[in-house]
């Protein structure tokens, strides 16, 4: 969790204006810790503020986690990478390894065969083999 806290404070939990708000850091820490340790692991956070009252904790230029799509078994076809409510990004698996920088959060990767993988973006780089 210390590493997650440091990463969040250094910019991975910052918004587009370079501000790390307490409620964003809380959400980032939750995603980052669970991504590393597994969904059955339960960290515990209290951002100490009332809903709707942003608390500016740190200032740091925003850093974006990188999701690296690494075709290993599926080396052809189109995959779709998307965040709920956002337009999907088409990925040509025949193009080989490719990286996508996205704000931290929870994403879904739909593969050519229709299967869907959950992907959490939080750390500097996450390799997703498909």
């Amino acid at each position: 969790m210390t590493q997650a806290f440091l990463a969040g404070a250094k910019g991975y939990a910052a918004d587009e204006n370079g501000v790390v708000y307490a409620h964003n850091l809380r959400a980032y820490l939750y995603a980052a810790v669970k991504d590393k340790l597994g969904s059955d692991f339960e960290p515990d956070f209290d951002d100490g503020v009332d809903p709707g009252t942003p608390w500016e904790l740190f200032r740091a230029p925003r850093r974006l986690p990188k999701i690296v799509i690494k075709p290993v078994n599926l080396t052809a076809g189109k995959a779709m990478f998307r965040k709920r409510g956002a337009a999907p990004l088409e990925i040509d698996l025949a193009a080989g390894v490719q990286g996508i920088e996205v704000p931290y959060g929870y994403y879904a990767l739909t593969l050519p065969d229709g299967t869907e993988r959950d992907v959490t973006a939080a750390w500097e780089e996450k390799v997703v083999e498909v």
């Binding site: 969790m1 210390t2 590493q3 340790l37 960290p43 515990d44 956070f45 209290d46 503020v49 904790l57």
Partner: protein, 73 residues
């Protein structure tokens, strides 16, 4: 851990307190104090102190270490 955080808040020496408790949260019956005898008096501004708390696990649960490129955290 909680008394440490509360002590900082009650004394109100700082406007903001950010604490990271990266440890297990075992409940040890033999180490439980029935009363907080040296609890500081609440400073007038203690109600305005903002506190961000982060715990590696929920109460009674174990934390976990993993390797971050040679550093364990």
């Amino acid at each position: 851990m909680i008394p440490l955080r509360e002590s900082l808040r009650l004394r109100a020496h700082f406007d903001e307190v950010v604490v990271v408790f990266d440890a297990c949260r075992d409940v040890l019956s033999y180490a439980t104090d029935g009363a907080w005898l040296d609890k500081p008096n609440a400073a007038p501004r203690s109600g305005q102190v903002k506190v961000f708390s982060s715990f590696a696990s929920k109460t009674g649960k174990k934390a976990k270490e993993i390797d971050f490129g040679g550093r364990v955290s």
